[in-house]
């Protein structure tokens, strides 16, 4: 969808036009679903969160002021929806102590199938949830540790430790 058409659809959707909102859904669902899938690590949960994101977007669209691109606004909303949903569980998973060998903290779910080469998406899905969240937000989505800490309700040091841990585990899986 070209920017002018997109802007028109956004304005129509803001005024309550569900058909325009359907067009926005078609244009953006792949990107939203990708971030939900990587954060959740589970296709069924990712589809549920994707639905939640678009329902929330519909409710909040009247407040969208076109100060950023609609896609950027929607992406940020998607991250917030997933984080809000997972916060309690992530807090539990992220309560770790920083140690020299982070892989000793928790037995990872990586590679039940020795000898099978994994791609990054599969390896990420197998990470412990806390480590996966920080890796996706930092290395893929480009958030800083301070933002991740604020959004997830964890300490910045914990975010750094989880990133170190995630990278180490992913490399181990992909190096096979």
């Amino acid at each position: 969808m070209d920017p002018d058409a997109l802007s028109l659809e956004v304005r129509r959707a803001q005024a309550g036009d569900a058909d325009a909102f359907a067009a926005l859904y078609r244009a953006h669902v792949g990107r939203v679903h990708a971030v939900c899938l990587r954060l959740e690590g589970d296709p069924a949960a990712a589809e549920e969160r994707t639905q939640d994101v678009f329902v929330r977007a519909w409710d909040r669209l009247p407040g969208f002021r076109h100060e950023s691109a609609f896609g950027t606004w929607l992406h940020r909303l998607a991250v917030n929806v997933v984080l809000a949903h997972r916060r309690t569980e992530w807090r539990r998973d992220l309560r770790v102590t920083v140690v020299e060998e982070p892989e000793l903290l928790e037995a990872p779910r990586l590679a039940a199938d020795p000898g099978t080469r994994m791609d990054l998406d599969a390896a990420m899905a197998a990470l412990p949830p806390g480590a996966r969240a920080v890796f996706v937000l930092h290395d893929i989505e480009g958030y800083g540790h301070a933002e991740i800490a604020e959004m997830s309700g964890i300490a910045e040091g914990t975010s750094k430790a989880q990133l170190f841990r995630a990278r180490r585990l992913l490399r181990k899986a992909l190096d096979r």
Binding site: G30, P62, D121, R171
Partner: protein, 168 residues
């Protein structure tokens, strides 16, 4: 002789650049999403609030005319402001509007009234965004700051009127 092993971050970088930015879900999620959309904001029965709509149109048109004159370097007939840009005041007005809009969102207005309000707020928000973009491009302009302030005030006044509308 063996090369130095890259660190984990470097090693993963090429894998990350290969990731797809978009992944379509396995199922069409639109039908369940559509079923969950709150009908209060859909375009529904037409019972426009003529007076409110006219007021909004007037503001939008006068802002557009003034902006056109400003852009053409012709002195506008209506001088909006000559004082320095009061960013704190603008922020306060914006916050006041946000609070009022939030309050309105939880009130029990009729669905068709909500639809009319939403449509008119879109017009005002567009005017605010347009003024804001112009002010960002020319941050010291008291004229643009005045236009932005007028648009924010219009939003607050519109929401005040809306708050006085009869509930369903």
């Amino acid at each position: 002789m063996t090369g130095q092993r890259p660190d984990d971050e470097t090693f993963l970088r090429s894998h990350i650049s290969d990731l797809r930015r978009s992944i379509e879900p396995a199922h069409d999620l639109w039908p369940p999403i559509e079923a969950r959309l709150t009908p209060r904001r859909r375009v529904g029965a037409r019972r426009p609030l003529y007076q409110l709509a006219a007021a909004i149109a007037l503001v939008a048109i006068s802002s557009a005319v003034t902006w056109f004159l400003v852009r053409r370097d012709i002195a506008p007939v209506v001088v909006v402001a000559t004082a320095p840009v009061d960013r704190e005041g603008l922020a306060r007005l914006a916050r006041a509007g946000d609070v009022m809009e939030e309050g309105l969102g939880s009130s029990d207005l009729a669905p068709e009234t909500r639809a009319v309000l939403a449509r008119n707020l879109v017009v005002i928000d567009s005017a605010i965004a347009e003024c804001q973009r112009a002010l960002d491009a020319d941050p010291g302009s008291p004229v643009l700051a005045g236009l932005l302030r007028a648009a924010h005030r219009q939003r607050v006044e519109f929401l005040q009127q809306a708050a006085r509308l009869p509930r369903s």
